[in-house]
């Protein structure tokens, strides 16, 4: 049983009279513990694929199973539950809440998981320490460097102990040294057993993964191990 199983997955957008097939009958299996990179140029459909995999969107056609759940026609609530429990996101732009301090940012998913407040705090502190931010708990994102922000984002993605970790160009806003450090964290997380999916346009980053899936015009055109 694969962790992620896509069959004939399509996503069609309508812009006026025009139909845009962002994804065109994609078949893909991802096993638990894999480290995958989805690579493609801008407009290739890699973002659409990540949104579907990340349960931010539903497909137009085809079948999608994640963590054993059929999500082809999932309700918004089911998707929200998946995003909360099984999936962690790390975005290019960090997407932290600037008004909240580090701990509260990290604890954000736990609010929606219904975790009581003192436990939220404890778990957030522990994860913050794991990513090396134990001394930055009371700071707010604008006071942090890009690398620190991205580590907060990783901590937030990990706090609810999800099975899958998505990185959407996670190093795009960072200098190369910091970016390397963040990628090393992804390596380490993979090593600890998480399934990691990186979406990028940069082959050099994709090369850190164990399996690269290349997308072009909404179809998987190539699949290789770097």
């Amino acid at each position: 049983m694969s962790l992620i199983h896509l069959e004939g997955l399509s996503k069609v957008y309508r812009v006026g009279d025009q139909e845009i097939r962002a994804l065109d009958e994609v078949n893909l299996r991802i096993e638990e513990g894999e480290f995958i990179a989805i690579i493609g140029s801008s407009g290739s459909g890699k973002s659409t694929l990540m949104h579907l995999l990340g349960c931010l969107d539903t497909p137009t056609a085809g079948r999608m199973e994640i963590c054993g759940k059929n999500l082809t026609k999932a309700s918004n609530d089911e998707l929200a539950r998946m995003r909360n429990r099984e999936i962690g996101f790390v975005f290019q732009a960090f997407n932290l809440l600037p008004k909240l301090d580090v701990v509260s940012n990290i604890a954000l998913p736990l609010i929606y998981a219904g975790v009581p407040s003192h436990e939220r705090l404890n778990r957030a502190k522990k994860v913050a320490a794991d990513v090396g931010l134990g001394d930055r708990l009371a700071n707010r994102p604008p006071q942090l460097s890009g690398g620190q922000c991205q580590r907060v984002a990783i901590a937030r993605a990990l706090v609810n102990n999800p099975r899958i970790l998505f990185g959407d160009e996670p190093t795009g806003n960072l200098d190369s040294a910091t970016g390397r450090m963040i990628l090393e964290m992804f390596d380490a997380l993979h090593a600890s057993g998480k399934t990691v999916v990186l979406v990028t346009h940069d082959p050099a980053i994709a090369a850190r993964s164990r399996r690269v899936i290349e997308i072009c015009d909404g179809r998987i055109t190539r699949e290789y191990a770097p």
Binding site: L56, R83, F89, L97, K99, I111, Y112, R156
Partner: protein
């Protein structure tokens, strides 16, 4: 999501935009404070009315008042002698459910004491002994008028407390009995002095040593009474002014009767009406006015006050609600990205919905609390303006009602923004700059 968390998020959001939130609360503050003030005011009027009614005489009293005869009987309206002493006599004799009858005539004339400088002009009233019960009088010293006084047409008078104090300042009430006053330059023996009539509020103010002449005093006419026997009034004081009248045909100024037992109230009214119909030869030129009618009239004016005040408050609350909706919509468009992030980490649409709704309710609730504070100030001001007996009364149910309306305004105005926020697509929201 735990509602407490939503509340704390909302409070943080409010704290982050204090000025903006305060502005948007303004309508609610106004609405709540005016609602509470209106309720306190009408409550005060009701309270004043109730006390006034209690102290002015009970429901047993019925006034017989003049009325335009109906158009059908207009042509022979002058057949009716109008309200005369004969009516009073007839009612006293024939209406068995009526216990007291008080006819009254009056004259505005000079009242003074011998050698006491300029006389005051006062309304001197000619009454029967029944006036004692109907006017709910208490005698502080001496006695009231008796049937013998009427019979003899004697020159005696009973005066109110204010009159006594004005004529003989500083002299104890007991010593005033037996003195003589000049009414229309004729000597009258003071046989009694009435007690000082005042409402609880006034009594309290007097005991506290405060002088306050504010507002309309319901007991003024009783305290300023100069009462003489009806017959004396007619023969001694009025005959010069109305030489053609006889005691029988002279028009009464007021005619008040008292029903002996409230259980027979309607029968008593029927009796009075029947007697008067005969005396007035079928001309319907009179009306029976019960205290219940007075009460209803006051009630309806209180209702009108409450309605207009309530309308004002309602408009403020609606405007306030629109203000909150406006600010929530603005807040949402500022926070699209935040909402996207919350959705991405697992917030359900309903979590977002509740968060916005609770925030909106919080704003209106805080507005309501401020409104309560404002209303306390407003009521303080009203206390200094409103007549003493109608002092505004603040009741907890007014506060609860007002806060309830404020919360309802926040709830209703939060629905649309909340629905809008929860409909935001996470992907678009995350890309939003």
């Amino acid at each position: 999501m735990n509602p407490l968390v939503a509340i704390s998020i909302g409070l943080r959001e409010i704290a982050a935009h204090k000025f903006r939130t305060c502005l948007s609360m303004l309508g609610i503050v106004l609405g709540v404070s005016s609602l509470i003030a209106t309720m306190a005011l009408t409550r005060g009027i009701e309270e004043g009315t109730r006390i006034f009614m209690q102290q002015m005489g009970g429901l047993e009293l019925v006034s017989i008042v003049n009325k335009e005869p109906s158009s059908k009987k207009y042509e022979f309206a002058n057949l009716s002698p109008g309200r005369t002493l004969r009516d009073a006599e007839a009612i006293r004799r024939s209406a068995s459910f009526i216990s007291h009858v008080s006819p009254e005539i009056s004259l505005n004339t000079a009242v003074a004491i011998e050698g006491g400088g300029n006389p005051d002009r006062r309304v001197v009233r000619g009454v029967y002994p029944d006036h004692f019960v109907i006017g709910m009088h208490k005698v502080a010293a001496g006695r009231f008028l008796t049937p013998l006084d009427i019979e003899c047409g004697s020159r005696c008078t009973v005066i109110g407390d204010t009159v006594a104090k004005k004529l003989w300042p500083g002299i104890p009430t007991q010593l005033i009995v037996g003195k003589t006053i000049l009414i229309d330059n004729r000597p009258f023996l003071v046989v009694g002095v009435l007690a000082l009539y005042e409402m609880e509020e006034q009594a309290r103010a007097r005991r506290a040593g405060k002088r306050s002449n504010r507002g309309w005093d319901p007991f003024r006419s009783k305290n300023e009474a100069v009462l003489v026997p009806f017959t004396t009034m007619f023969h001694e004081l009025r005959s010069g002014a109305f030489p053609l009248d006889s005691l029988e045909t002279m028009k009464l100024e007021t005619l008040t009767v008292r029903v002996g037992d409230l259980n027979n109230f309607d029968s008593a009214l029927g009796q009075v009406r029947a007697v008067l119909d005969i005396n007035h030869r079928g001309v319907d030129d009179f009306n029976l006015e019960t205290r219940q009618d007075w009460f209803d009239r006051m009630e309806s004016s209180v209702r009108a006050t409450r309605l207009s005040g309530g309308l004002l408050a309602a408009i403020s609350l609606v405007v306030g609600g629109i203000g909150i909706m406006n600010i929530m919509l603005a807040s949402i468009s500022e926070r699209v990205r935040e909402i996207g992030i919350r959705l991405a980490v697992g917030a359900r649409q309903r979590d977002i919905f509740w968060q916005i709704l609770i925030e909106s309710i919080l704003v209106s609730f805080l507005g309501g609390l401020l409104g309560i504070l404002a209303s306390l100030g407003l009521i303080e001001i009203l206390k200094n303006i409103a007549p003493e007996q109608n002092v505004p009364v603040l009741t907890p149910d007014a506060i609860l009602l007002a806060v309830g309306f404020a919360i309802a305004a926040g709830l209703l105005s939060g629905l649309y923004p909340a629905a809008k926020a929860s409909g935001i697509d996470p992907i678009t929201a995350l890309r939003y700059e």
